[in-house]
Symmetry: C2
Subunit: 348 residues, 2 copies
């Protein structure tokens, strides 16, 4: 696969196929690993970084799952292409700055990606559609085991896997789930839920991870603690809590459908109409409106779109995606016009 | 004509027929008159008020223009029906409270209405579509002359016609024009315009007169001074100024159409779509959206409605009109649903 083919495919995690995918957009497992005996990235030198690049490349291409992956040297990418990878959740924002010695490997259907020389030598990610943390974990362990045959990871019997930031030390595991919780938000339960989750050692973030607001009622929920617990325990615990939130969202949707029918149908109908009518629209407004349309699909009120098409649209209206599709760089106000065009076309 | 037939007709002033009617909704002339030798209403007694009712009824029904007019005893009206007359601009808000001894005569096509025992013994109104103050004044003088043959009006050589409130003394004339000025508002010129008009001795109010906000960019502009100037002078002066405002609004519309095409078409397109999609809508939101659609008709962007139908809709979505059409009293939230239904039907 070539880099420019990515724009023509839908990331597997947006396909709306896994369990509870009307509410759980995606499940993501991330593992932080460092190679034993080589300095952590931030304390490192060019030679060591190059060595990390080289030996991880060999190891990754030896893995059966990753042998056909797309290899990207971050330093060779335009700003637009970096932004494009961020939007697809294939790299972190941090990986797109000071790009020298940074690479990323993108596996088939974008389920697996591996960043090299980000904060840690290796950042492995598995991301899939729906509530499928266990499936994602299976893929992750298989790849990790295979890499471990080639690379010796920094590990301490006392602390577990060693990482650049102590908050990752232990398992190096972050399990997270992107949820769409419009009914919990509309019924004003979201603040309580976020407080409860934080007491359970979970973190809640927006659509694009750390430091981004929860645009369109999309929330990313992840474990905070990485030490003192086994990987399966972390994943099972998160899955159990996510199931409870799914059930709360379903209850709230039923409440809206039965008790607030007029109000909610009004909101959804207006959102569809505005998306179809707009000639200029920002991504933030679009995400808020698409969120209502997505709720409408869930409630059976909107028939012209399915969850897959809607998820896809959430990605296609992002700034870099718009520009990649248009094959030209666009100013912010040009994008707002192009975005409206794209939406009108997709909703026709 | 019967009272309940009013709901099935469009007031002449909403028909969009007169000069400049894309910008000037209506022209209105009001004359305050009191009957010589009878106490002003606020200082009066029941017997005098009854006498005013009786002799003005005789005089009005003797007039050729008003001989077939609808006679309404305000005390016999339900609150809903009073509100209905206020919405149609046939009576003032004040005329709908303490209704004993108050009456109103409504002429053919609602062009003329005469309130009895409002603030003054007689309040005569002529209201017509477009910028036609001179035509309205002709009708007014004809009726006034005819009434003056039967009733001697309170008049002082020094002060002119005497009225309950000194601000009306002199001519007793208020000439006003309802304008739709969306382009002047969107291009942020409205505050300057209002300041300028006030320096010229003109008052600017909202859609429903004194104390109402300028919802939907509809402005009612009227003379402040009633003394020391002849009636024709007041009317010609106002007409001249209104023509200048019309020209300013036209210039601003051209500017929007040429220089802000995308932005304005986006606003108008969204307004149409929201009106067609809403299931719940307040009258205030409706008026703001209809204002944009009205601008769209003026700019040639909206084709599915004409000015007549749009003006009519501005009236039909008012609370009392909605209830009269539904033949049932409706709560505020029931009206918001009924209003959305009506709009969807009218825009189909």
């Amino acid at each position: 696969m070539k880099f420019n083919d990515l724009i023509n495919q839908t990331s597997e995690w947006l396909k709306g196929t896994g369990a509870e995918s009307d509410i759980v957009i995606s499940s993501r497992i991330r593992l932080a690993r460092n190679i034993n005996g080589l300095k952590f990235v931030d304390w490192s030198d060019p030679e060591t970084k190059e060595r990390v690049m080289k030996i991880s490349k060999q190891a990754i291409f030896s893995d059966n799952y990753m042998k056909d992956s797309l290899y990207v040297d971050m330093a060779s990418l335009s700003l637009l292409n970096s932004q494009f990878l961020i939007e697809r959740h294939l790299i972190s924002r941090e990986h797109a700055v000071n790009t020298k010695y940074k690479t990323v490997f993108i596996g088939n259907r974008e389920i697996v990606s591996i960043m090299v020389n980000e904060e840690d030598h290796l950042r492995l990610q598995v991301i899939q559609s729906g509530l499928v943390l266990n499936d994602a974990w299976k893929i992750m362990t298989s790849i990790e085991n295979s890499l471990e045959k080639k690379l010796k990871f920094a590990y301490s019997d006392e602390w577990g896997y060693l990482t650049a930031c102590p908050t990752n030390t232990g398992t190096g595991l972050r399990a997270s789930v992107m949820m769409h919780l419009p009914a919990i938000v509309i019924t004003s339960q979201i603040n309580n839920l976020i407080n409860d989750l934080s007491k359970l050692g979970l973190t809640v973030r927006g659509f694009f991870g750390e430091g981004t607001a929860a645009a369109g009622n999309f929330f990313q929920i992840s474990n905070q603690v990485t030490m003192g617990r086994g990987e399966e325990e972390i994943i099972d615990n998160l899955t159990r809590i996510i199931r409870q939130i799914v059930s709360q969202e379903r209850g709230s949707r039923r409440f809206l459908k039965v008790r607030k029918k007029d109000i909610i149908e009004d909101k959804i109908s207006r959102a569809c109409a505005t998306l179809e009518a707009a000639h200029i629209i920002t991504s933030s407004e679009t995400i808020d409106l698409l969120s209502l349309v997505r709720l409408g699909i869930g409630l059976g009120v909107v028939k012209k779109l399915d969850i897959h098409k809607l998820n896809e649209l959430l990605m296609l209206i992002q700034p870099a995606h718009l520009q990649k599709q248009a094959c030209v760089e666009l100013s912010s106000s040009e994008r707002d016009i192009k975005r409206a065009e794209l939406i009108r076309e997709k909703l026709k």
